[in-house]
Amino acid sequence: MRYVIEMIREGWNLIPYDPDLRAETIRTLRLAFESTGIALLIGVVPAYLIGVRTSRPARWGLTIANAGLGVPAVGVGVLLFLILPGHTPWPGGGLWYGMSAMILGQTVLALPIIVALGAAAIRGLPDGLIDQARAFGASGWRLAIFAFREAKIGILTAIILALGSAIAEVGAVTILGGNAERSTTTLASEILNEVNGDGGFAGNAGAVEHAIVVLGLMLILAVMLTVIQQWGAIQRRGRLRAEVSSSQRTR
C-alpha cells in the first residue's frame, strides 16, 4: 500500500513542474470542445428529426445511433486513417493528420452520443407536448426550438458525455494523431507514452500525474452533470405542481 500512496504523492508533486502538461491540457480541451461542437452542429438536425418522428427511417436512425454508441474507437481510427487523403507513412504533408484528423475521429465518436441521447431526450418529453405546440401553430424551426428548449436537460447531458468521451479517448486519437510527444499527445494518450516509453519509476509517476489531471477534468464534468440533473429535477417538480394546481382549478 505504501507504494501506491508514494506514487500518488509523487504524481501530485510532479504537476507544477511538468513543462508539457499545460500544452497537453490545452490540446485535450481543444479536442473535446471542437469535436463536441462539430458533432453538435452535424447531429442536431438528425437528433430532432429522429426525436419527433416515429416513421420507419426515424426508428432505423435511432437504432443505428444507439449501436454507434459502442463502436470500437480503434476501428473508427483505422477506417478514417485509410480514407483520409494526405497521409503518408511518415506524417509529412497533407491536410488530414495531427490535430485535425484527431478532431475528425473524435467527432465521429461523439456524433452517436449527440444523436442518440438528443433524440431520446425529445422522445422522453411528456406525451402530447409537441402535438400541443403544433396545434398552437408552431411549425418548422419554431417547433424545433421549442422541442430543444423543453429537452435541454437531455441535450446538455449528451454534450457533457461527449466532452467526457473526448477527454478519456485514446484509441482513435492515437491512431489518427500518431501520439507524438509535444504535438499530438493528449492527457490520456500521454499516459500510454509514460507507461510504455519511460516505464519504471519515472514513467509510472508520470502516468499517475496525468491520471490525476484527467480525473480532475472528469470530476468537473461530473459536478456539472449533477448540477444540470438537479436543475432538471426541480423543473420537473415545478411542472408537476403546475399541472396538479391547474387540474384542481378545473375541478
Partner: protein, 271 residues
C-alpha cells in the same frame, strides 16, 4: 458520395485486400490474438457478471440508508476513463519498487494475462452495476410491493426484480462484453500488453500478435512506428480491425434484437 470516397481510396482497398487475405489463410498471429480477445472478454465479463448485477439489483430495489449516494457513485464510476483504471491496476500489481510492491503484488499478476482480465473486469463492473440498477428500477413498483407485503426476503425480492428485468440485464452483459473487447486504454496503461511472446516474432512493444485485437490494431498501426524490423505491419492491423468490427456488429445486432429502440451502451445516459 460516401461510396465514391470509399471506392476511390487506394489505401483502404489495398489494406482490406491484404487484411482479408491474412484472415483467409489463418495467419497464426491473427488466430492467436482473436482467441486471446475472446478469452479475455469472456473471463472479465464473467467475473463482472458475478459481482455487478447483484450489487446493481441491491442498489436498484433495496431499501437502506445511503442507497441514493451509492447509486450516484456507481453511476459516476462508469465514467472513469479506462486509462485511469489501467494506471490503478499498474500501481496495484507492480511487484518491486523502492517502496516495496503494490498491494496485490503477491498474486504475481504484473504483465500477465491475469492483470489484463483484472483491468477489464474493473472496467465492466460499474457498467453492469449501473445498467442493472436502472433496469430493476423500471420494474413496476406494485409488483415488488406486493412481494414485500407477502413477506418475501430481500434476496428473493432481488431475484424477482432481476427475472422481471432479465432482457435488460442480458443487454447489460452484452454491453460489458463489447466494452471488454473494444477498450484499449486500461490494458495499455496497465503495462500488460508486453507479455506476449508468441511465435513470429518474439515481441515487446511493436509486435504483430497482441493481447487483444484492439491493442494489436493500435500497436501495429501507428503513424510513427513504421513497422516491425522494417516490415510493414499495417495489413495485420487492418485484419485485427476488421475482425474487431465484425465482433462489434454481432454484439450490436444482438443488442438491437433484445431491446428494440431501447438499446443503450452508455450507463446513466437515459435520464
Amino acid at each position: 458520395m460516401i461510396a465514391s470516397v470509399l471506392m476511390g481510396s487506394p489505401d483502404l482497398l489495398n489494406g482490406l485486400r491484404q487484411a482479408l487475405h491474412l484472415i483467409e489463410i489463418g495467419d497464426p498471429a491473427v488466430v492467436y490474438t482473436t482467441k486471446r480477445t475472446l478469452l479475455t472478454a469472456v473471463e472479465a465479463t464473467g467475473i463482472a457478471t458475478v459481482i455487478g448485477p447483484p450489487v446493481g439489483c441491491a442498489l436498484g430495489v433495496g431499501r437502506f440508508p445511503g442507497r441514493g449516494a451509492l447509486l450516484a457513485i456507481g453511476n459516476s464510476l462508469t465514467r472513469v476513463p479506462p486509462v485511469v483504471i489501467g494506471v490503478l491496476v499498474l500501481l496495484l500489481v507492480t511487484p518491486v519498487s523502492p517502496f516495496g510492491g503494490g498491494p496485490l503484488a503477491a498474486f504475481n499478476w504484473y504483465q500477465t494475462p491475469d492483470s489484463i482480465v483484472f483491468a477489464q473486469t474493473l472496467l465492466a463492473i460499474p457498467v453492469l452495476i449501473a445498467l442493472t440498477a436502472s433496469a430493476v428500477q423500471r420494474v413496476p413498483v406494485d409488483l415488488l410491493d406486493q412481494a414485500r407485503a407477502f413477506g418475501a426476503p430481500g434476496w428473493k425480492l432481488g431475484l424477482l426484480a432481476v427475472r422481471e428485468a432479465r432482457t435488460a440485464v442480458i443487454a447489460a452483459i452484452i454491453v460489458a462484453l463489447g466494452l471488454t473487447i473494444a477498450t484499449v486504454g486500461a490494458i495499455i496503461a496497465s503495462g500488460a500488453q508486453q507479455f506476449v511472446n508468441v511465435p513470429p516474432p518474439a515481441c515487446h512493444r511493436y509486435c504483430e500478435a497482441a493481447v487483444t485485437l484492439a491493442v494489436g490494431t493500435l500497436f501495429n498501426f501507428r503513424t510513427s512506428s513504421g513497422g516491425v524490423n522494417g516490415q510493414d505491419t499495417e495489413p495485420i492491423a487492418i485484419a485485427y480491425a476488421v475482425i474487431l468490427i465484425g465482433m462489434f456488429l454481432v454484439l450490436a445486432a444482438a443488442l438491437t434484437f433484445l431491446q428494440q429502440r431501447r438499446a443503450s451502451w452508455i450507463a446513466g445516459g437515459e435520464s
